[in-house]
Symmetry: D2
Subunit: 364 residues, 4 copies
């Protein structure tokens, strides 16, 4: 029942199946006056695009966005911004054999049980391709946040399989992490991560990992207690991405090992304003931004599509069977999830900043 | 801007400040025909009540609930169920000294920056006392879930400070964990945890921990992709609790170390129905329940109120100052957060099960 | 399924049955910093109170409001404002005979069919007493609108039964209309209306009427196309009041008789601003306020509770039966609905003005 | 701030400007399993299409719908159904002269004041062309209602200018009213109405009117008190259509002239079920459907675009000026609004019937 919209004030509604005609997003609530071009949205789409290296899916999608409404003479008008990407490189052949055999780790089984029927081609709506709509919505949100407040949002990889990278030295290093194939800020570790992925791929297997998104420049006061807290909304946003199994802010699960005197961030007068001197809170206290960086990490499970033999069920005969999942799949989706996670964080911030009065709802 | 309601179909709206007249909750969307008594709600409230041992706050609140509406002749009528608890043992004296000195780790600073003014007494709206409303709403949700589907929800403590407990052998052990002061299923570890808390308390300090909530009996099909996924909604629900800094489902952050062949849960015919043979997914695939136990863990930060000297700012003079937080505080809030977390999970399930048609919206 | 909240940014949730313990409202989304006292809310409640003359119900309710939260030291804090009125003068005896015999014109039948069971005492949730919650929420909205923008909202009676009053000469006359028992701005007609009501009452019958609400001082730009238009939201708000069967803005149904050249309001430079010289639009164009008075009229059906013999059904025996509705009822509810309608208009304006950025969402 | 979605459980989000690239709608919440074709949606679009007679706009739009998602092998899948119509016959030349001169009776002025900038071409988002999205969403709703409950929704014209038609003898007559150019069930009056429109058009003027929509087959119990009542939601839905200035149910404004004994509908056992013997309530009591026909009437203002000289303001020079509105306009939009009104009523019913459990939210 209608779970395909995200946000209240800045609301993104997405649609589209992996092998259907198109995927799209409609942004409702972007104020008038924001300069916006198809090129800007395209840049974000290109960051999640498949077919860019041997580490990701071989599907060759141009993923060319078209803005259908809401922008006039280069600026938004305050009316809904609808964006569309037609699906071009659709090859559903490898899915036919699996129609009645739900792939382990995928949503095939649960969609079948919930809806009774489903578009099985390419995973249908539960495919990662659904995130094209998120990235388009997020592109508008990012532009709005940067244009009005200079807010920057960037993600990077901290772990892939058994390879862990140290925290980047600064925000610039995070931004630069976009340059390599695994989006890791540490070049040496990035190369190890590539090997880790290739090793799994050679076995027909896949690997997971951990990534982090940082939002810099968020003013204090963003977030709506007691339920629509900034961390609650970001948590929801990230868990709504298919493969995310864990989310943590600041010190995260590490708080269990700390005492209060180690966990609390001291407050001080910094250049005339109250500021937290450390950021174990991850930029959020009581569900409201502190003005420090918003820091959130999330765990991504290994791609469920693997060519290793797996046990499943034939839903027609109800017999246990073994399958191998053919098709074009990423042996590791962590790098491609990063722009999606950034998009979700941007959407949350745009929504809560309009709700909180930081961004004018009708025009900027 | 209106962030004090939770849920769409089963919507709980809470109100109340720590040292105000009352705290309360209104449940809108509970179907007619559910047997409900004040005693049942009271049982849940008693589980989060302060003043029960030396491990928790010395505030002595009777926390006696009154159902004001929506129940007639022992059953719900489909109209809003409003419940109220008057605040009785209010002692605001120790907060006067801190009016302009935000306590580190608390929401004092962010509330002040956001709203310009705040009820500082006892933490006002950002106090843990706000969760009384959640527990009342959750009590109705729990009853609805159990009455209609036999669903049971129980939480237990996995870690406090440096003391870690093993996973309980079964669900019964989880239920029994309620009996000891730290709600740990392992009695030996429970005693160690008590020592850990006392050790911190003796230093005027506090400790955090990790707890887990399990929902048993949830039918397959619950959750509304692509944004209102079951894990997204539970994630949001738990992060909306003040001290939660991390949330994970099933294998959680551990997925980073797994390969796809280890992470995917095999599917098989179990007694005529498709079932997952393992539960690394934590009971959720593609945002929809699988029929397995829903398993979610969360990290709780150490209580920010400590009597250790801390650095903060005087918001009037804008000078850096040192404070000690007096008052009656829990040196560890993990055990008292468990019923709150259960309540939130119950509210999510009630909401999504009505939205998904598992529970009739008007009557049961 | 959860239809007891009104508004998005300024959200009022009400609860309570006619003969239950209490009726109440929680306002979520009122910004911090608004001066607010129980006396101000009480004044509005007193305007809808029963037992004030022989024209209205004999139920003697003190209707004393208590603000439970959200106000600290005389000002709102940005947290939910919960208000409660306990029910005191409850006499359910006359309703016992009607438990299984739905009163024509009331919601008895439809509630029974929808929910399977209902609190029949005094009409339960479908009683006009439910509007106490609306008036309390509206009182906060009115104060917010007046305090921030000087907006005034006032209603008056245009017709009762066959007696029609002319449009009042100006807004002051509308405000003064509150002074007489029927809230008609024309004193002579007011006396005739009283006779009309008495004549019906003497026959054990009741009369309906038409009233108008005017909102003065609303700035241009309020309303959110294309669905949450100002007129759409006000229309919804007024139709949500039990007895309202028709709503019209400006020229209303009269537009059918006009040509475009008569219906369009000319635009001109008035004191440097664009203004409409006439107001056939009722202050709204394209769902957005023009800056002119918002003018809305609504038709109120005769009180369905009459002591005249009526045909209904015994739901147990399924036999057609005749009933007379005893109890304490208003022979005409038009005057008492006016403060409720004002409250609803105020709630819509508060909500849309926060949503539109006219009123700061967190503080004023 | 995000007012372009309608409904909660069955949510329609529309986008698009009159002279932009496309107009579209995404339906979120339609259950899986509903047979749906582009042809069915096209049929409804054809009913509102311009260019079909000399009574309506000369714009020649093919208005060919494409379903982009949510339908697989002829049936819905429970995922969002996105539909698009590209704009083809766009001629913005006549609007250039009016960029800074708001047309009286249109939303030009209020959009300019609210958003600061607007797509002026063809009225942009405030154009009647926006209703293409509504009709597409409504087509899905209609199909869902008919397929699951046999519900039929039909509208007809009761008045155009000074010509009034009698109420049609029965529902079949209403359905047949679609056949003539003015959608009036009375053929003789239909011809008079055509003359009335032509007479106005010859003067460069326009006329308004009154129409009625009837929904037959709605089961008792639909509607969510106390705010999301069936009449409140339909009222909101109809007032969200650009030119609607009044809405009434059943006896409507006529209730002012009735006594309670005349207004109340008697209840009786009809074929074993409780039924109302008359329908002055318009099929709704206490905001919940009675099982009788839902009967709603609405007043439509004369088309504001007229070639008669009108007074307005030049927003650049701030001088009062006179304008004539050129372009292709309907001298009367009542007949073309009828399918839009039907669509809105269908959307409300689909939404409330899913919310009320009458239609399964995930599959039918």
């Amino acid at each position: 029942m209608s779970g395909n919209s995200f946000g209240q004030a800045f609301r993104v509604t997405t649609y589209g199946e992996s092998h259907g005609l198109a995927v799209g997003a409609t942004v409702d609530g972007c104020p008038a006056g924001l300069p916006l071009t198809e090129e800007e949205v395209q840049l974000e789409l290109d960051r999640r695009k498949p077919g860019t290296s041997d580490l990701v899916s071989g599907r060759k999608e141009e993923d060319k966005v078209r803005i259908l409404s809401g922008v006039f003479e280069g600026k938004t008008t305050g009316t809904p911004i609808s964006m569309i990407v037609y699906n071009l490189d659709v090859d559903s052949s490898s899915y036919e054999a699996l129609i009645n055999r739900p792939r382990p780790g995928h949503a095939d089984l649960t969609y079948a049980l919930k809806y009774g029927r489903r578009d099985h081609r390419g995973g249908g709506r539960s495919s990662g391709r659904e995130t094209v709509g998120r990235v388009m919505g997020g592109a508008v949100a990012k532009k709005l946040l940067f244009h009005t407040h200079g807010i920057q949002i960037a993600g990077h990889t901290l772990q892939i399989g058994r390879v862990k990278a140290p925290a980047p030295p600064d925000f610039d290093a995070v931004v630069k992490a976009q340059r390599n194939a695994v989006r890791c800020a540490n070049e040496a570790k990035a190369m190890e991560m590539v090997q880790e992925i290739r090793a799994a791929a050679e076995c027909g297997d896949s690997v997971g990992g951990i990534a982090e998104v940082i939002a810099r420049g968020v003013p204090p006061g963003v977030g709506e207690p007691v339920f629509d807290k900034l961390d609650a909304e970001i948590g929801r946003a990230l868990f709504s991405i298919g493969s995310v199994k864990g989310v943590e802010f600041g010190a995260g699960f590490g708080v269990a090992d700390l005492r209060g005197s180690q966990s609390n961030d001291p407050i001080a007068n910094v250049d005339g304003s109250p500021r937290l001197l450390t950021n174990r809170a991850g930029g959020i206290l009581g569900g409201i931004s502190t003005g420090n960086d918003i820091v959130v990490r999330f765990a991504v499970k290994p791609t469920p599509s693997i060519s290793v033999v797996q046990q499943t069920l034939d839903m027609v005969t109800m017999e246990d069977v073994e399958i191998r999942v053919a098709g074009r799949h990423d042996p590791c989706i962590v790098p491609r999830i990063i722009p999606v996670a950034e998009a979700m964080v941007a959407m949350v911030l745009a929504d809560l900043m309009i709700r909180g009065g930081f961004i004018g709802p009708s025009r900027i």
